[in-house]
């Protein structure tokens, strides 16, 4: 496939209460965004174990996106605030050992932000497309 048409595979971990509903809103509002994401619904961004992110990359994902409620809006009050610390540490570590910045991204999308969700996916897809297929952690047997 040529550079232009290559569609990256991005695993998107979306929290049930905000980002998943935001994705739903983008859908019912018929907003266009690239068909690059595979959504995994999680109860809260606090549910994300960094192992999920690297496991996705190992199993062939070209990028990973994690999105939860905006800080302060967590359905479980502080799930995303504890997660934010975890994300900061794990993102730094992955980039430190040499995973390209942009492969693993984190964002906040609320249930009313369908437009933001569509724009986010377009942007993340573009970032990952620019990086090309993810080969560093992908397991090839």
């Amino acid at each position: 496939m040529s550079e232009q048409t290559w569609q990256p595979k991005i695993v998107a971990f979306l929290c049930n209460w905000c980002s998943y509903a935001g994705a739903d809103l983008a859908g019912v509002s018929r907003m266009q965004y690239p068909p690059s994401i595979r959504v995994v619904r999680v109860p809260c961004s606090g549910r994300i174990n960094p192992l999920f992110l690297v496991a996705a990359l190992q199993n062939g994902a070209d990028g990973v996106l994690v999105s939860g409620c905006h800080p302060g809006d967590c359905h479980y009050l502080s799930g995303n605030l504890v997660a934010r610390r975890k994300f900061a540490v794990v993102k730094n570590l992955l980039e430190y050992v040499g995973i390209e910045p942009g492969r693993v991204q984190f964002s906040w999308v609320s249930a009313s932000e369908g437009g933001r969700f569509a724009a986010l996916i377009a942007q993340v897809t573009e970032d990952v497309r620019r990086l090309g297929p993810q080969k560093r952690l992908a397991k090839v047997l």
Binding site: P50, L51, V54, A55, Q58, L65, P71, G72, S78, L81, V82, R84, R85, K86, F87, A88, V89, V90, K91, N92, L93, L94, E95, Y96, V97, G98, I99, E100, P101, Q105, F106, S107, W108, G115, R116, A119, L120, A122, Q123, V124, R136, L137, A138, K139, L141
Partner: protein, 334 residues
């Protein structure tokens, strides 16, 4: 120089005599070379075997979770937890504090004998300096270490050059908040060694990846790093889970890399930079460059250094509302 070993023996004997201890974890002379090895003793008589010198590098906190494990107890008929003593350096104590915070042992069941640390000898640097010759005994001086070799030669080595990197950058060589603090000289606190992380981070992404890959490609997945680490005590490690099987068990490179990434991540806010993982590695993998990153990050992002204080919660179980979130992707307005 003061004979710290003798002080430790006296204190240990007193503690056993006063029935304040069931077990004591310390060091004794090893059987080969000049190395000390960890020992568990259970009586005043055994206290005679305790030793202390510049080869007591192990982090003894690694034995703590194991000593406080017991099967589920019937209510009203609980077997009391043992009273366990530890001979601790700064790093051992910081690991013990991290474990107490994680409820691996109640502080009141621990009797801590603190020893100010002048830094411990790096086995690998020592072996390189004497071309791997067998050592009969080591004499620790103020600035020199005199090694008597098995073949009769004797060598004098600069103490500072023989110390472990972890000791050279140690920030807390004197254990604070122990029950008995032995008087002695401690290493002056110098640079914290974060420059190692900074210089690695300054390399290009692909160069960093290449180095990481090169180091980890030597990993044989023996898990010695995990076993030697005091804060790696999970009964079921993600590396061995089989439902779901997160990573393969072979030495396949991505599996090994993920094992190390997650192992290092799990040390966030708990790593005391004692380098036990690196000492234990039979392949001599430079784990320090990578493990140190997590400690440096926690310091920088959350202003937290694992220390002697039992009150501050570990940084990754808490939060503040204004934690940095510069890393969050903000989509451009369309």
């Amino acid at each position: 120089m003061r004979d710290l070993a003798n002080d430790i023996r006296m204190i240990a004997k007193d503690l056993f005599d006063q029935k304040r201890l069931d077990t004591l974890v310390g060091f004794e002379k090893g059987s080969a070379g000049a190395r000390c090895r960890p020992v568990l003793i259970a009586s005043a008589a055994e206290a005679r075997s305790l030793a202390w010198d510049a080869t007591c590098s192990n982090n003894l906190a690694v034995y703590l979770p194991f000593l406080f494990q017991r099967p589920p107890q019937r209510k009203g008929a609980e077997i009391p937890l043992p009273k366990v003593g530890f001979v601790v350096k700064g790093c051992d104590l910081r690991s013990i504090v991290a474990l107490v915070k994680e409820k691996q042992a109640p502080r009141e069941n621990l009797v801590l004998i603190g020893v100010p640390c002048r830094g411990m000898v790096d086995e690998r640097k020592l072996a390189a300096a004497i071309d791997g010759a067998e050592i009969a005994s080591l004499e620790d001086g103020d600035e020199k270490i005199a090694a008597a070799l098995a073949d009769g030669r004797s060598v004098s080595l600069g103490r500072e050059e023989m110390l472990q990197d972890a000791c050279l950058t140690c920030q807390q060589p004197v254990p604070e908040g122990v029950d008995v603090l032995i008087e002695g000289e401690a290493r002056p606190v110098g640079d914290n060694g974060d420059s190692l992380v900074k210089s690695f981070a300054a390399l290009a992404v692909s160069e960093r990846w290449m180095r990481f890959q090169q180091e980890i490609s030597r990993c044989i997945r023996c898990y010695a790093c995990r076993q030697a680490c005091p804060t790696c005590y999970c009964k079921e490690c993600f590396a061995e889970m089989n439902s779901p099987a997160w990573i393969g068990v072979s030495t396949e490179l991505t599996d090994a890399m993920i094992f190390h990434l997650i192992r290092i991540f799990h040390q966030a806010g708990r790593c005391v930079e004692c380098d036990a993982c690196m000492r234990a590695c039979p392949m001599g993998i430079d784990l320090r460059t990578f493990t140190k990153k997590i400690a440096a990050d926690v310091r920088e992002l959350f202003g937290f250094t694992p220390g002697f204080d039992l009150e501050t919660p570990p940084p990754l179980v808490t939060f503040t509302e204004d934690d940095s979130q510069e890393f969050i992707t903000e989509p451009h307005k369309t």
